[in-house]
């Protein structure tokens, strides 16, 4: 009987020794305060910081996106929020010129429970000027035969002046799967390695043969054809402005009525096709066309990375100087595209610039 009791007590003691202790910090107790100021130093006036009142603030973290508005002091005060890495983007129209947006953003704010994180967004007016990638359609139409050849990229000239496409390059960066990943400045030399495809407009940079008029959309189609003849849910790209054509491919479609972007890599014999839900696309001036040693970031006109999941499932790899975040892509074969919220709106922060609501493609218009 004694042995039995000793065994019982020892077992109970060992068992209760397995008890674990909870973490000492509770989630849901974080405090984030962000003040949005308009830095007017660059306007030629006396330098001043004006609070952005009632500006739209987009708060993003791994749990999604929420919209708030700044108060009279340009403050956003969020208490009792979960711990996460936050991004805050604010925007409001210029009080006197509606064509100008005052935008600013801050990313990678590590907000931890029990701590108040305070930061300031220095907003700047973004003149809606220059060429930007306005719409990306890569996921393919609704279909069951893996049809994906109706991809296109839409460019937009948001400026008030004529731009010229001569010699510009459109590239896909996905080869650098080691190291820092696709779109990264692997060697810290100011250039991006890992060009998968490089196609160029006709001519050389600086020439003025191919005008891109203000407020104009230009559609660059993988294949400029009416894809509805292949899949009824697809789109008509027979009237695209430009077509990617690989002159080294024996079977790439070529619409004779549409001018071509031609392949710069003779070792690539396939058409310009991108990843359905994740890839990096860059438009550059074409001044640096030697892709083998990487393309210099200075020559980039616009670049977008798109991914299918929020962090931390996927790591953003495109260099911060090109794009500070990424676009969430629609599901594959859903017939949906990624568009900017407003044509040409480009604060180099794609998560904010692009609409989170995916919609059917609109090639040539917004």
């Amino acid at each position: 009987m004694k042995t039995f009791l000793v065994l019982m007590i020892m077992g109970l003691y060992l068992f209760t020794g397995c008890n674990e202790q909870p973490p000492v910090t509770n989630d849901g107790n974080a405090h984030l305060v962000v003040v949005a100021l308009w830095d007017t130093a660059g306007l030629g006036n006396t330098a001043d910081f004006i609070p952005l009142q009632n500006a739209k603030a987009i708060i993003s973290n791994e749990y999604g996106i929420a919209v708030h508005y700044t108060d009279l002091h340009g403050r956003i005060d969020l208490s009792s929020v979960p711990s996460s890495v936050y991004g805050v983007s604010v925007r409001m129209p210029h009080p006197e010129d509606s064509n100008i947006m005052i935008t600013g953003s801050i990313t990678n704010l590590e907000v931890i429970s029990g701590i108040t994180v305070q930061d300031t967004i220095m907003a700047q007016p973004i003149s809606s000027s220059g060429i930007s990638i306005n719409e990306i359609y890569m996921v393919g139409p609704v279909n069951s035969i893996f049809y994906l050849f109706d991809q296109f990229i839409e460019l937009y000239n948001a400026s008030d002046s004529i731009k010229y496409l001569d010699g510009m390059m459109v590239m896909r960066f996905s080869s650098n799967t080691d190291g820092q990943g696709p779109g990264a400045d692997e060697y810290g030399d100011g250039s991006i390695q890992g060009v998968t495809y490089a196609f160029k407009f006709s001519g050389i940079p600086g020439e003025q043969n191919y005008p891109f008029y203000p407020k104009e959309f230009i559609v660059l189609a993988s294949d400029a054809m009416d894809h509805r003849s292949m899949v009824s849910t697809s789109i008509d790209l027979s009237t695209a402005d430009w077509e990617f054509y690989n002159q080294f491919s024996p079977n790439d479609v070529d619409n004779p009525n549409v001018p071509n972007l031609i392949n710069m890599r003779s070792d690539k014999t396939s058409d310009f096709l991108c990843g359905l839900t994740a890839d990096v696309i860059i438009v550059s001036s074409g001044v640096d066309s030697i892709w083998a040693d990487g393309i210099e970031i200075e020559t980039f006109i616009d670049g977008v990375e798109y991914q299918s999941n929020h962090h931390p499932q996927n790591k953003k790899t495109l260099d911060q100087r090109v794009d500070r975040s990424y676009v969430l892509s629609p599901p594959r074969y859903s017939g949906l595209s990624m568009k900017r919220r407003d044509p040409g709106l480009d604060s180099n922060n794609s998560l904010d610039d692009f609409s989170p609501d995916h919609s059917p493609p609109t090639p040539g218009y917004h």
Binding site: T25, N26, D27, E62, G64, P82, S308, R332
Partner: protein, 486 residues
């Protein structure tokens, strides 16, 4: 959250109801377990204490039971992710073989088919398992679960007065959601129970047992067309993050361990006293794949609990049985976000219970009648930190059970029961002043030589005063064919 431990207990009980479906007699008499003395409802270390070592002493006859049955529940008195309806069907084969000096063997196998209808998004089978993690898609739909369970138990007297026993159980359940995201579940449960018992004298026995149990649920949502599937992993009830792909996987692993001690003491021919104390430890891990072969721990929940029960039966005069019972229960849990080591939820629940009753056997009329009263006081303290919801609740619950058994002839015995209870606060579903009404019935048929048929039917209704116009009903029916020779 405080309600979730009870939920867990109820869920496990739901599973084990089929296992213990052989106590047909007391169940059909309103569920009276204090004042009805029955071969399957003794205060022994085996029946009461769940100690496998005592099987050899408790089950001395060879028997094979074949039990088909079904259970249904429906109603809108439920939580967000509960199914509106559950239909469950089972067939059980349960055999006990006495091997003489070689001990006693029990083999048990069952096959379950369950339909969970109209679930709002949730993909885990036991959504409210007490942890802070939920998995949901965006579609309301139903699940079908089916699969077998096997259990082996063996007990032997290893030395005079010392008994050892062990059991091993294995359950494999497959689940399938009938609409997008077409989630498939694979649930595997492996459990064991190892026990020892010591009987220093004929009227006293004591035992210890250790019962580990591992439950793993793997869920995969895979797009059957070319679209991606999107699943939402909740940390708490408010915040979720999304995972998307052509195939999204999720795994939860639950490990529980119970260390239990039991005793039985026959004070005299008319008084029997028994008790048991169980200390439980458990944890649940939420595992997410990362890449082709890697996976990481997304969340972790810890559970522990204490359950102490003492029961007694007195027979002060012939044909009168008085039952007494008391208990103390305590449970607590916390859930954390493993990546950031942050506490998400924490809850604690404790309470005591007491019960008493009396039964009387009217000899001339071969009628057994009984009544029991049970009281339970429960205090819970819940802190859902990530959701910023905090709650303290105390509830007093009352339950009255009544039952009759009438031996109509040598061939037929009929049974009936009625229960009525009221809870100040329902910790499971959140209602206030919840009434519980149950009607039970059954019969024992000795129509064949060496074969007994038992029938059990139960109907119950749960209805709160607040929220109004909600209720939940339960219905179950079982038939047991007991073969005394096989």
């Amino acid at each position: 959250m405080n309600k979730n431990i009870l939920c867990l207990v109820v869920s496990l009980l739901l599973c084990s109801t089929f296992l213990s479906a052989q106590s047909f007699r007391t169940s059909s008499m309103g569920g009276m377990n204090l004042v009805i003395k029955d071969a399957d409802n003794t205060f022994s270390l085996y029946d009461f204490g769940r100690n496998p070592a005592w099987l050899v002493k408790d089950e001395t006859a060879n028997v094979l039971k074949i039990i088909p049955g079904s259970k249904f529940s429906s109603g809108q008195y439920k939580r967000k992710y509960d199914p509106s309806e559950i239909s469950a069907y089972v067939i059980v084969f349960d055999g006990i073989k006495n091997l003489g000096e070689l001990g006693t063997f029990r083999g048990y196998t069952s096959y379950d088919v369950e339909y969970y209808d109209d679930i709002y998004g949730s993909l885990r089978r036991f959504t409210y398992g007490g942890d802070a993690f939920f998995l949901a898609d965006t579609n309301r739909g139903g699940f079908r679960y089916n699969g077998p369970t096997v259990n082996f138990m063996y007990s032997l007297e290893i030395l005079p007065g010392i008994y050892a026993g062990a059991s091993l159980s294995y359950q494999l359940i497959e689940g399938l959601k009938d609409v997008y995201s077409r989630a498939q579940s694979l649930i595997r449960r492996i459990g064991g129970n190892v026990g020892m018992a010591y009987q220093p004298s004929d009227n006293f026995s004591i035992g210890i047992s250790y019962e580990p149990n591992e439950l793993q649920e793997r869920i995969e949502s895979k797009s059957e067309d070319l679209l991606d599937v999107e699943l939402f992993l909740f940390r708490g009830e408010t915040y979720s993050f999304k995972r998307r792909g052509s195939s999204v996987n999720y795994k939860s692993k639950n490990l529980t361990q119970n260390f239990s001690t039991q005793f039985n003491y026959k004070v005299s021919d008319n008084i029997e006293l028994a008790g048991k104390g169980t200390y439980s430890l458990g944890n649940t891990k939420i595992i997410i794949p990362s890449g082709a072969i890697k996976e990481y721990e997304e969340g972790y929940a810890f559970f522990d609990g204490v359950d102490i029960q003492i029961v007694s039966r007195l027979e002060p005069v012939k044909n009168i049985m008085i039952g007494l019972g008391a208990g103390y229960q305590k449970g607590s849990s916390w859930s954390k976000h493993s990546g950031r080591e942050l506490l998400l939820w924490e809850w604690d629940i404790n309470g005591f219970s007491a019960g008493t009753g009396v039964s009387y056997y009217f000899v001339p009329y071969v009628l057994l009648a009984g009544v029991e009263y049970h009281f339970q006081n429960t205090k819970s303290d819940s802190s859902k930190y990530i959701d910023n919801r905090f709650q303290k609740i105390e509830s007093n619950n009352h339950l009255i059970k009544t039952g009759l058994e009438y031996v109509a002839s040598e061939l037929i015995t009929v049974r009936a029961g009625f229960s009525y209870g009221i809870k100040e606060y329902d910790l499971i579903f959140g209602g206030k002043d919840v009434t519980y009404t149950a009607v039970t019935g059954g019969a024992g048929l000795n129509l064949f030589k060496d074969a007994i048929i038992d029938i059990l039917i139960e109907y119950a209704l749960q209805k709160p005063d607040e929220p109004v116009n909600l209720e939940k009903s339960f219905f179950s029916g079982f038939i047991s064919l007991k073969l005394l020779t096989f």
